[in-house]
Homo-oligomer: 213 residues x 2
């Protein structure tokens, strides 16, 4: 299977959103319009869309509905793909709500917790199990995607459980670099780092403008 870089996959989601928001009476769209909406170059857009095997025409550009269908076939699961989340603290619970019903074929079907006060009940409409049962539940429910929203020090343990149970894609909210085999894809979302960066550049700009003023 041909390898598509993660950044290309990410940009395809941006094009899909743009296509979704195009009014129904507009049948075609040019690469430069898709590029402007995503703040990219038209050449980048055309290169990315080549992975779909649908090229459009120079005269009319891309057919909006066809391009959208091509991206959906590439990006979204055709049949149900199941997701589990470890950790149902503030972030975990917010993610359960956020992802609920967002994609018809991508569904969070289980959550895991080390805290006995939280497991063995429904949380945000989703059954919460003891983390000790994770490997069994993941295999029995055919879960292929894992979200890690546990405290940093527990993240590697959870990643090992996920990988051992056959999960090959992990969305990691813990601030810990995970060690996983090369065939496992990890996407890190580091909220604290993002906040520290924004705060740093905000201070720097303010200091810059006071120095001028």
């Amino acid at each position: 299977m041909k390898t598509v870089p993660p950044k290309t996959v990410g940009r395809l989601t941006l094009y899909w959103r743009t296509l979704r928001d195009i009014p129904a009476d507009q049948t075609h769209v040019y690469s430069h319009v898709l590029a402007a909406k995503s703040r990219l170059t038209p050449a980048q857009v055309r290169r990315d869309l080549m992975v779909l095997g649908y090229a459009g025409t120079p005269a009319h550009g891309y057919n909006v509905q066809l391009l959208r269908k091509h991206i959906e076939a590439f990006l979204f699961p055709a049949s149900e793909q199941r997701v589990a989340i470890a950790g149902v603290g503030n972030i975990g619970r917010a993610l359960l709500k956020f992802f609920s019903g967002r994609r018809p074929t991508l569904r969070i079907v289980a959550s895991f917790e080390a805290n006995p006060e939280k497991y063995d009940r429904l949380i945000q409409g989703c059954q919460c199990y003891s983390i000790e049962k994770a490997e069994t539940v993941i295999r029995e429910m055919d879960i292929s995607v894992g979200i890690i929203a546990v405290p940093d020090k527990e993240a590697q343990f959870v990643a090992d459980v996920f990988v051992g149970a056959g999960i090959r894609g992990i969305l990691n909210f813990a601030r810990a670099p995970l060690h996983v085999p090369p065939d496992v894809y990890v996407e890190d979302i580091d909220l604290a780092m993002a906040m520290d960066k924004v705060a740093y550049f905000a201070r720097r700009q303010q200091a810059g403008s006071s120095a001028v003023g």
Copy 2:
């Protein structure tokens, strides 16, 4: 003022975490140890740390406490830096809890909402105001950082309000590319895109392994 790239600032937060977790009886650390913990090269670590003006010595490496203090002086605000968040839905509320007390000098002091059922009261211990009062509140409270956690279609409006009120750093959770002046730093966190990427690569690995087996 010398420009430090955002990625360097991000990596400094990784080194800081590693230093924070080093046992108190270990006085020095080599760049290759910091590199291994963050999964980077020693040369990258040494280059990044040069922005601090503290070089360590080839024989002993870096003094753990001194390096930590240097990074803190660079990365964290010396006096209180104030943050506002627009949107107190699931994600907004989770962020209010997550960032509460995380850095002593970086504090969310106000939230904004368009929904009258939500504003004019405390949410997660933080006063929630009507978005119409945002410009006044931001200026009066000297807020320099903004978090956007509103629905996608309202994100640009909120960004304009933030920028108009003097905010120069934005953490954006909306799935919309924001148009801001060049002196405003925006860090996008796109949860839906991250999830779609992870799901795509998880499917691809499973399809790959079934093809082989």
